[in-house]
Symmetry: C2
Subunit: 142 residues, 2 copies
Amino acid sequence: MFSQTVEYALRAVIHLAQYAPKARKTQDIAKATQVPAAYLTKVLQNLGAHGIVRLQRGVGGGVSLDRSPDQITILDIVNAVDPIQRITTCPLQLSNHGVRLCALHRRMDNALKGIEEAFGSTTMAELLKDPNRSTPLCEESP
Amino acid sequence: MFSQTVEYALRAVIHLAQYAPKARKTQDIAKATQVPAAYLTKVLQNLGAHGIVRLQRGVGGGVSLDRSPDQITILDIVNAVDPIQRITTCPLQLSNHGVRLCALHRRMDNALKGIEEAFGSTTMAELLKDPNRSTPLCEESP
DNA sequence: AACAAACAGGATAAGAATGTCAACTTTACG
DNA sequence: CGTAAAGTTGACATTCTTATCCTGTTTGTT
């Protein structure tokens, strides 16, 4: 349902949020999040192009968040690497479906809207301080 | 977000619901729903294997619903062709995440749960008699 | 300036999803 | 029984996602 790429991107950003505002090397992120390092570089490029992370080359460089963890939602990350495509027009080319969706596609779009709302209302900061759960990505007990 | 295959399957079943309990030929379904005919046969096979539709060979055969339209939900169809995979265990192999998901994956799973609930509570019959919208797949005005 | 650390970017490949095709089997009916 | 209608099946083609690798460029340090 959610692509691998989305999963990887979320892991990477959460990891960075844990270290914010410090930078982390791609290799270290890859190890900590169990994401293939070579592929992670692509994902991070993408996140960089969308203003989620900042990429710094050279010695002492690395990847860091471009905003504070409470200014990055799950939706920001999802939309950066694999945007949620709301259904705004009829997927068939039916003339009278263009404006108002049929019952089916209205409900499908509603489900997408639900995801957008859920993901848009949760920030990285909230994920990290969630009291009832183990810390994302971490082995340590709660 | 939802695969092409899911979209095709939903179109096909809605079309069949409009004609239920009569059978329709695959070619006719393909034309009406604008789905590639050769691929639609695969999708219909799948729906047949999951007890959504009945496939009848030979002269006068075709495809028909295996249950009445009010006994088939969107979720039934989705789960037949491209099942919603709930997140029940930590995607990483973190020992202490197995039982209770971390905040991230709990929220992702919650989004999936929302979709399941929305899709599980809507039947084909309801889609067809939705008063405020144009009929699914049909050119005719409401 | 030289060097090494670290990201940048293109080529490439494996795998899954989507789509096509042709030969085969079942079935109704004259 | 023969024939045409209709689904069945397996092989193949195409496109997208995921993944790898190698070479280049930037940058801090000596």
